[in-house]
Amino acid sequence: MAVYPPQPAKEPPLTARGPIAWIRHNLLSSPYNIAFTILGLAILYWTVPPFIKWAIIDAHFAGDSKSACTGGGACWVFIKEKLDMFLFGFYPHDQLWRPKSVFAAVLALGAFAKFVPGLHRLKLTLIVLFPVFAYLMLHGGHFGLPLVETSKWGGLLLTLVIASVGIVLSFPIGILLALGRQSKLPIIKSLSVFYIEFVRGVPLITVLFMASVVLPLFFPEGVNFDKLARALIGITFFEAAYVAENIRSGFQAIPKGQYEAADALGLGYWQKMALVILPQAIKVTIPNLVGTFISLFKDTSLVMIIGLFDLLAMVNVTANDRDWLGMDTEGYVFVAFIFWIFTFSMSMYSKRLEKRLDTNNK
């Protein structure tokens, strides 16, 4: 009797698998699609090679003055020579170890919090103490450290200081405003609504003008905020309104049963909010919060209009140096790249966090 052993199935034809099939399916599936592919290739051809030619092939990396840059490419020598300015602004040169050690401390703290398991109490203490440490280090005036006025701070350092202080301080104020807006008490509610809607209706630049010009009038003589403090106050109170709206949208996602359950357990208002409602509301709204913090980070660049020297303002400062005139293209591209790295990684982080926190118990 003939035996017919089962043959393994034939592989699909070469045109229906592997990269060829992928190209046929994704790039050439119809005349329209082919036209689009040609258009896409044309766009890439017009944008990518010229940029690479400018930024890498024709660019100059070696040297220490403008004379090292001849020809059309980018002059990265400029960035290299002015790097300290871009990172720290006018911070005194012999004191640069201070901001550098603060940056190092941030990285060390982050690594410690991420990779060392447990020790939650210690971590929390360190995180709470860190701003004090950073302020003492950067500002000085104690422990033998010479005083460095905030008007000397600049560059990425200033941008990060404004962004982190803004994020940290606007968060609790935002929570309070959101609670106020949810409140059943009519006066508290209307005050919160008024504040939130007012701030969200005006541009940040007007709030910054208000903080830098009008705020000093509000306080008795002798009470002096420096420029940085005024900018921080403006940004914090501006972003708090946006944070409040994010948290409110989180509240709306909490089922009523959660409130009722907390009531049934006999929790008071603050206990109910702090232990039951807020943790869930914040969790739901984390993607929105990160979105707000990303726009806060981008908005820090506005402080240059009220005369602070943040990262963006350093482009004008350095490109107006007599030895380096006409370098603003390199400056802007470099600064845009730094901003982009921060904001893009924040949005990636938010996506990851969203996935991790999705406990899917709705």
């Binding site: 790039l27 592919t37 209706g201 541009p203 007007t206 010009v213 009008v214 009038l217 963006l312």
Partner: protein, 384 residues
């Protein structure tokens, strides 16, 4: 705790009284300090400055303006410029956002990736940086007036801006406007008639084609009948600069381009999330009804996607209007630059001027949110 404090209502009232007292005390404290400080520094108060002579000129005024005009006029010019740049910004960012949003949904992998790269790049760079880049790098490095880039000798581009022909409407031009109006009315009635006929007989009528023919044909006909009343004034080089025609300054263009490119990324994302939010079953149902891909999009997908996308797009328009205030960094004479900038420096009345500026933006925001609410109620799913 005394017994009456355990009553929630009593406590609520108590909290509110405390809040009010603290709030009023705070306001009083601020008001007292402010009036004291203002007196000390010899700053004038009140709104009389609005009728004082401004004493400075404005480079780009849509209405006639001279240094002899008042600060109130400065406010008007600033507000008009804000509205002009916002209007064109909204038009341009919508077109660009629609294009990028559609590309982002394209089945073509390459186009899809290019759109994603565009979005991720421009969304993550501060808009102020983009404005400065356009102003200080792109537009400043354009050739001088003598070596302008010229397109068919009608449009000229140089480092002083873009120069385009301006259309002058001569006598009889009203006929073109009337023809346009007539075309719109005709399209409206054709549409109604075609819908009714389709419902009764099932026969379709090429409404879209008719509309295009009417919209182009009728005004063209009127133009010819009225004896070609519209003429174009071409910009021409006189000495060091161009004269005649319509001029767009580098300040305006830098602001417009940066705002449009930035806002377009958010509009593209809104369009994408709107279309992606329509459940897959809707498309499958439409396919099984035998609708063509174009009909599916027009009759099933878009009406549902629009409901989700439009509110966030309108919010982006509002953000664009607010971001136009960043013109202060490059000196395009809009509300914040000239009123909250130059006028403020001249008069020193920061409190009044900033309040007026803020309230103006607040009013614009209010109008936009009224439109948004109107849209939301109109678009609400009508359930039986």
């Amino acid at each position: 705790m005394p017994a009456f404090l355990r009553n929630e209502k009593v406590r609520g009232i108590l909290y509110q009284i405390i809040t009010i007292v603290l709030f009023v005390a705070f306001l009083f404290y601020i008001a007292q300090n402010t009036s004291h400080n203002i007196e000390q520094r010899g700053i004038k108060t009140g709104f009389a400055f609005l009728h004082a002579t401004a004493g400075f000129d404005i480079t780009e005024a849509p209405i006639p303006f001279s240094p002899m005009d008042t600060h109130l006029k400065v406010f008007e010019v600033g507000l008009l410029n804000t509205l002009i740049v916002s209007f064109w910004g909204i038009v341009l960012s919508s077109l660009l956002g629609l294009l990028i949003g559609v590309w982002r949904l394209s089945p073509n992998w390459l186009i899809n990736r290019i759109a994603a790269a565009y979005i991720e790049t421009f969304r993550n760079i501060p808009v102020l940086l983009q404005i400065l880049f356009w102003y200080n790098v792109v537009l400043a490095t354009l050739p001088a007036a003598r070596h302008s880039l010229s397109f068919f000798d009608t449009i000229f581009i140089n480092n002083r801006g873009f120069f385009m022909p301006e259309f002058v409407f001569g006598p009889g031009s009203w006929m073109i406007g009337a023809a346009l109006f007539l075309a719109v009315v005709a399209i409206y009635f054709t549409n109604r008639w075609a819908k009714k006929r389709q419902e009764e007989t099932g026969e379709q009528f090429p409404v879209f084609l008719t509309a295009i023919i009417l919209l182009i044909g009728l005004p063209l006909l009127a133009y010819l009948i009225a004896g070609r009343p519209v003429t174009a004034v071409l910009p021409a080089l006189h000495g060091f600069n161009f004269r005649g025609g319509k001029t767009f300054t580098p300040e305006f263009l830098a602001l417009l381009f940066a705002l449009s490119i930035y806002t377009a990324t958010f509009i593209a994302e809104a369009i994408r999330s709107g279309i992606e939010a329509v459940p897959k079953g809707q498309k499958e149902a439409a396919t099984s009804l035998g609708l063509s891909p174009m009909q599916q999009l027009r009759l099933v997908i878009l009406p549902q996607a629009v409901r989700i996308a439009i509110p966030s797009i309108i919010n982006q328009y509002l953000n664009l209007i607010k971001n136009s205030s960043l013109a202060a960094a490059i000196g395009y004479p809009e509300l914040v630059t000239i009123f909250a900038g130059t006028s403020l420096n001249q008069t020193g009345q920061a409190l009044e001027i900033l309040l007026i500026t803020m309230l103006t933006y607040l009013l614009i925001s209010l109008i936009v949110s009224l439109i948004l609410n109107w849209f939301n109620t109109k678009m609400k799913i009508k359930e039986r």
